[in-house]
């Protein structure tokens, strides 16, 4: 019969547990710091949205002088930051939801402005509104987002994408949906025409290239 040193087991258990708990507390502390960083990032984002809104208002007055590519890039940057924040804090986070609502309104505002610019100032813009959902058809929506992102990167001087959350219940967004008969996700609006369901790369690229040709001919 071999002896067992119970005191040793108890000592090892205590040391290991102490280190483990310290580790967990440290991890939580780091998480808290990260959350504080996110809180400040949220404030920055809010200010950025406000600034972009003002820029859009200003642009209304001087429509034809507006640098649409720069404005699109700024909006795109804002969208990426929002995505990052959403990945970290989760899609259900209250602040994220409210930020996304503000972002959607900004997008609609820009959409209207860019449509006006396109018509009045002969600018080469292809506005694409993309409705997605985090609740329904998530994989299809992600796939559509990926294809649209590809188009944006391939034709950065022409294509402007507005990603809009179908599930946000906002009067302006609901009106936009009604006008363009958006009843399902994913749905895409390109130059006032609505496409329901997933649209593949070939079809979308054909529309975009055709439109680019039209712009050049006109």
């Amino acid at each position: 019969m071999r002896e067992i040193n119970k005191t040793k087991y108890l000592a090892v258990f205590s040391i290991a547990t102490l280190i483990f708990i310290s580790g967990v507390i440290t991890a939580q502390y780091i998480n808290k710091i990260k959350l504080n960083e996110f809180a400040s990032a949220q404030t920055d984002l809010r200010n950025y949205i406000l600034s972009l809104n003002l820029q859009t208002e200003l642009a209304k007055k001087y429509e034809c002088r507006v640098d649409t590519i720069r404005l699109t890039r700024e909006k795109d940057k804002l969208g990426s930051q929002l995505d990052m924040l959403e990945n970290r804090l989760g899609k259900k986070d209250g602040d994220i939801k409210s930020l996304k609502e503000e972002y959607s309104l900004l997008s609609i505002r820009q959409w209207i402005l860019f449509e006006e610019i396109r018509e009045k100032c002969d600018k080469k813009i292809i506005n694409i509104a993309f409705f997605y959902s985090n609740k329904n058809n998530e994989t299809l929506c992600q796939s559509q987002g990926y294809v649209l992102d590809y188009l944006y990167k391939k034709y950065p001087n022409y294509v402007v994408i507005y990603a809009l959350d179908y599930d946000i219940d906002d009067p302006a967004l609901n009106t936009f949906k009604e006008i363009h008969n958006i009843t399902q996700v994913p749905s895409i609006v390109i130059l006032d025409k609505t496409y329901h369901g997933f649209q593949n790369k070939e079809k979308l690229e054909q529309i975009v290239t055709q439109e680019i040709k039209n712009i050049h001919i006109s």
Binding site: R2, E3, A16, A27, Q142, Y146, D149, N200
Partner: protein, 404 residues
């Protein structure tokens, strides 16, 4: 909290507990980490079972002959070799080396044959591809002054490591030897690999199990089952040839893992048995839990990685694999988020505990070839640590036996 996260936390705590246990035992017995001085020189028989060992048998015998131990006999048992092993060994007859040839029956059968032919008070069973240092036997025999010690194992070192696979094993062998020494302080060493020395009276009564895939482990467990001790002569070195490619490493390790699981499951009822002390309560359960965790982590991480690869391929297919205008999709971000998140805690735990043990092992065993740049290989090796038991378990499920 997800299933994966719970697994990660459990793995972290378990690794921490085991690491702390090893370190605690080490610091408790630090003064005893040195070797002993020999006082008596009982006659020793060195049994060398050899099967198609023409490449290394000459060096093995030369090293054994070169040992500064006064009374020794060297017996080579040619286990039905089809190469030049017999002719090579025959040349050593004039130096007193005895050679026997028998039909092929496996290592255990060759050893049992040799046990009947030898007359030493101690018996060393030496692998045909392992090389003793001049003072190896002297340092090992010193431990037999304790009557309860039934066998003594040396420190195994990798001979002339060149390939990445061999260099990875330098770290592994150093750490394993260090941990084996720690096990002896708990009366828990349970394996007799490569070049152990036994008391002849024990081996004559307890022959090797010829059907066992890991006869050295089985013999270790048998020694322990009779409440005898196995000691580790930490300063006695034996250099051994190790697998130099993935295929042979896989073959060897699957056999070892299979043998370990099989023996622990079927032999002597050690698991969680209080009468075997730390061996039954801590060492053997820990071994099995480590196998389980290694398999779990392998499936979890490789599964996540594969899922992300498929995810990226699917998205790339949507854009006709036109990589010019895209970066890898969400999968890459997911992996990064995954790595920098709470799983860091597991890596940190393993890194600190594992690193401390490696550092102490390197210092204690004075292994100069253990370079810290080899740590790059360790991350690769940790994947294999999960693959070997996984394949061994699959062999068991499908009721097959790995080959030698």
């Amino acid at each position: 909290m997800s299933f994966g996260s719970i697994g990660i936390y459990l793995a972290s705590y378990f690794s921490l507990f085991v690491g702390t246990f090893f370190l605690y035992t080490f610091f408790e017995n630090r003064a005893k980490m040195k070797g002993l001085k020999i006082k008596k020189f009982p006659k020793i028989s060195i049994l060398i079972p050899a099967y198609n060992a023409e490449k290394f048998i000459k060096k093995t015998i030369e090293c054994a002959l070169n040992c500064d131990y006064p009374e020794k006999e060297i017996i080579v048992i040619d286990d039905g070799s089809t190469d030049r092993t017999y002719q090579i060994v025959k040349k050593f007859k004039n130096k007193g080396v005895k050679i026997f040839k028998k039909e092929n029956g496996g290592k255990a059968s060759a050893l049992n044959f040799g046990i009947d032919k030898c007359n030493g008070k101690l018996i060393m069973t030496l692998d045909a591809d392992s090389f003793l240092e001049k003072d190896t036997i002297r340092k090992m025999v010193a431990y037999f002054k304790d009557r309860n010690v039934m066998s003594v194992v040396p420190t195994l070192k990798v001979y002339n490591p060149k390939t990445i696979i061999e260099r990875m094993q330098v770290i592994e062998y150093t750490v394993t030897s260090f941990i084996r020494k720690i096990f002896t302080f708990m009366h828990g060493l349970n394996v007799n690999p490569c070049a152990p020395i036994y008391r002849a009276e024990f081996l004559k009564k307890n022959k090797f199990d010829e059907d066992n895939l890991t006869e050295d482990l089985e013999m270790g467990l048998r020694v322990q089952s009779k409440h005898y001790d196995i000691q580790h002569a930490i300063d006695a070195n034996v250099y051994t040839i190790v697998p130099n490619n993935l295929k042979s490493l896989m073959k060897q390790r699957v056999r070892w893992n299979y043998g370990t699981i099989w023996n622990l499951k079927n032999k002597y009822g050690f698991m969680f048995s209080l009468k075997y002390g730390d061996l039954g309560l801590f060492i053997l359960p820990t071994t099995l839990i480590f196998f389980g965790l290694a398999v779990f982590l392998l499936i979890y991480y490789v599964g996540t990685l594969l899922w992300n690869v498929i995810y990226n391929i699917y998205f790339l297919s949507l854009i006709g694999f036109d990589m010019k205008y895209t970066l890898f999709g969400g999968g890459t971000t997911q992996i990064m988020n995954y790595l920098i998140d709470m799983k860091m805690f597991l890596f940190l735990t393993l890194f600190v505990v594992g690193g401390t043990i490696c550092l102490l092992a390197k210092r204690t065993l004075n292994e100069k070839r253990f370079r810290f740049s080899y740590f790059i290989y360790i991350s690769l090796y940790s994947i294999f640590l999960g693959i070997f038991p996984l394949i061994a378990i699959l062999y068991m499920i499908f009721r097959k036996k790995p080959k030698w």
